[in-house]
Subunit: 476 residues, 2 copies
């Protein structure tokens, strides 16, 4: 049966997890498959990813990087070369043991990330400081054998880009690590309207094999944090393990300094949980596959459909425009496209045509604007810009409201019991305290923000001399 | 050491296979990795694929298709549902048997193609004729466990797009099969300047599980054929195996009619072997990552480099423009960019600047055009168009020269002994003759062309009544 009604979604406050599942399935972003933990990205979900990908790919190219493509498989012996790396990833990789009818002499893992493949290639092509820097990126699928999965947020297979770069000096690698974190932050804030906190991961939470990891952390509607992107300074650990050497300006052999950085389909989950509401999805105009949806009113009346189709053709030069000329009721259509999170609805009926006007309706505020036809393009652009900005502002305010400070562990627990969110608290730098906080509260260290404050001189957990301000939260 | 000289490549006539290997490595399209049979696509190789992908993706979307993304893995039981399909693919799939530390209860194959995954999803989302047609496509990596591999032409993992569609009727599926074959043919001829023969595969050569397979076949410089793209009418075989049913306009349950069609990174191999020469690669302007390369002459003289950089900025609005301002000799640069197949070189030196002119040099003919600066954009565009057209014409003529007719098997063998190429010959339609021709000559049936001729009434092999004209050739 074709759907003749808009299916109801669970309210966010009743059951946030169910709300999320309802939204991703009923807005037709994904479908499940018989492959455990893998999702199908349906046309609407994939179109969102394509728009995010295009926006990020432009930024990656503008900052001087080139796209390449590495193999899907990694021989076990190659993965084992960097000891921290294999320890970090071994528990969660998928192993290919047979090709065709034959058992392989060495098993291959399906890449969980491609540091060692890039490293092996870099060893081949880098010989002199003149070959540096090398600034490569790839768009690929990767696999991590997760026990529990949720669409976009945690799936066995996911899509991402992974940048891998080589540099002459530690400072250059550091600058690159910062540059790409800023690219991710700008994508989140300026394109996805998702505010982020920039900072450094603790030793415990850094990438397996990295010198240090920078991260951007975002906060969802339910007060849980989500890591939106990471950028790692790898130092020369992989270079030493894999033998990536170059003749430096002084004529001496030296190992390269490396970075890697990744951004995944997970961000779609963040976008949903930051902007969505009880009516469904809400997609930021800059990446919405359809920015304006035309809904004809009383479309059986002469001239309405022709007029609406003409409008669609005309607007398609300026914004991504859809039209629903099906014989469903306008009210059904309104609900459907609100659920799909289309930022702007355009209503046009017989009376509007006579008055040379149409009505624009904002997805967020419900505000109705009556607009003269000859001002339409400019008004639509203005309104989309306003929606985009307002989305960011609302998200930033919500995050602010959900960010608290704690001076000791009982305060910390109290806050988490009342209302989930970021907790800013001082930390001594000891892993024991980090572990204890996680054990007692369920919150993990999200990052040591670049913008440090000194809330007190004592660690929130042990009371000893504090070293860092840390953002803590329960997290996806 | 950085390279200070252009490395020599083997001559095509001396050793075509070695010439090919030299070109793909020395023009820096690919590198080998420690993963058997998988290649690394380097920035230049991947940029070519990105341009091909963008051109094809536009055509796929213009013809009403939507992109989706399916899982990488297929459970063994799902792959087995269509019997011909599993028989065709089982010998060449990679099997995942372990996830993390655990052995899987059911092994997963790494997708060699995704008919069954699409089928399973279609079963979920198609219920009524109102849900049809469904026109989906995905860009993905697939794996086929090949014994012998060559970069682009045959690799364990390759990149491709695979379209999968569902229709109400056999005719609609047929029309779609033809439509997408034409899309592929137009991409090959109009964008890649590679002429193709359109036709149908024999029963023996069709896709495992298809009703019939249409193909476009191209001819390489060495006279071997290469299958450039295929489009399959699947009938209702997969629909019956997987239970994809819909309520038709008469209110009865019916299985959908399906198609699938694919186009891969292999086409880059075809482009190389159709257009390349002893100086190296030659890339059609429409997909060349760099269309015009600026080489400053006597660049140490005052003003030359500034002028050249200004030109680059100015031209970058119109064509993909590169500049080599390194301190290598101009002669080195000429050779390097000829090897990389950049269609047009722009030379500019002190005298040119005085005369307000530059020199354009065509990669194919070596022809030099002195062009006034104020006519530059228009002349470059004209010249690129002329190069693109001439590339197609040269390839078409070469194919014509290498296409012969045979009336009996001794003629057939004689032709192949003298000069590789397409052989047009009549066929009775029997698999025995097809097998015998392959055994005795090494040539396989490439296709029964849509444009049939009757060369004789007798099968080239058995002499019985002929049914079809067939193009035969040794093939990649």
């Amino acid at each position: 049966m074709a759907k003749d009604f808009v299916e109801k979604i669970t309210s966010m406050d009743d059951d946030f997890a169910q709300w999320y599942t309802d939204v991703v399935t009923k807005a037709e972003l994904i479908d499940y498959s018989s492959v455990r933990g893998c999702m199908i990205m349906r046309p609407y979900g994939f179109a969102i990813w394509e728009n995010i990908k295009n926006a990020l790919d432009s930024k990656i190219k503008e900052t001087g990087h080139e796209n390449v493509y590495m193999p899907l498989f990694i021989p076990e012996s190659l993965l084992q070369k960097e000891k921290d790396h294999i320890q970090g990833f071994a528990p969660e990789v998928a192993w290919v043991t047979h090709g065709g009818e034959e058992e392989l002499t060495e098993r291959l893992c399906v890449r969980p990330t491609s540091e060692v493949l890039f490293g092996e290639h870099y060893k081949n092509i880098i010989h002199s400081y003149r070959d540096l820097p090398k600034l490569y990126n790839q768009w690929a699928n990767v696999v991590r054998w997760e026990k529990t999965t949720r669409p976009f947020l945690r799936t066995l297979e996911f899509l991402w880009q992974e940048g891998h770069t080589c540099h002459e000096t530690d400072e250059e690698a550091h600058d690159e690590t910062v540059r790409m974190l800023n690219v991710y932050a700008s994508l989140c804030e300026d394109v996805l309207a998702v505010p982020v906190v920039k900072g450094q991961k603790t030793e415990k939470e850094k990438f397996a094999g990295a010198k240090y990891t920078y991260t951007i952390e975002s906060l969802m509607h339910d007060g849980k944090a989500l890591q939106a992107g990471t950028s790692h300074h790898l130092g020369d650990g992989f270079a030493k393990a894999l033998g990536i050497e170059f003749t430096n300006r002084e004529g001496q052999l030296q190992h390269v300094q490396q970075t890697s950085w990744g951004f995944t389909t997970r961000i779609i989950g963040a976008m949903i949980m930051v902007h969505g509401d009880d009516r469904g999805l809400f997609i930021p105009p800059k990446i919405a596959p359809t920015q304006v949806m035309i809904v004809p009113i009383a479309q059986h009346k002469e001239g309405v459909l022709d007029f609406a189709h003409d409008l669609k053709n005309r607007l398609s030069d300026v914004v991504r425009t859809g039209i629903d000329a099906s014989d469903k009721m306008p009210g059904w259509k309104f609900n459907e496209y609100e659920m799909k999170g289309i930022p702007l609805r355009l209503e046009v009926g017989p009376r509007d045509i006579g008055n040379k006007q149409v009505v624009l309706v904002r997805r967020d505020t419900g505000e109705k604007l009556t607009v003269l036809i000859n001002e339409l393009e400019i008004k639509i652009k203005e309104t989309l810009t306003a929606i985009q900005n307002d989305m960011y502002q609302r998200a930033a305010k919500s995050r602010e409201k959900k960010t608290a400070k704690a001076l000791n562990l009982s305060e910390f627990k109290e806050i988490l019991d009342t209302d989930q969110g970021f907790i800013k608290a001082m930390w001594c730098g000891g892993e024991a305290c980090e572990d204890r906080i996680k054990e007692e509260t369920g919150a993990t260290s999200r990052c040591m923000p670049f913008e440090q404050e000194e809330l007190s001189e004592e660690c929130v957990c042990c009371g000893k001399r504090s070293k860092h301000l840390v953002y803590w939260a329960k997290a996806y």
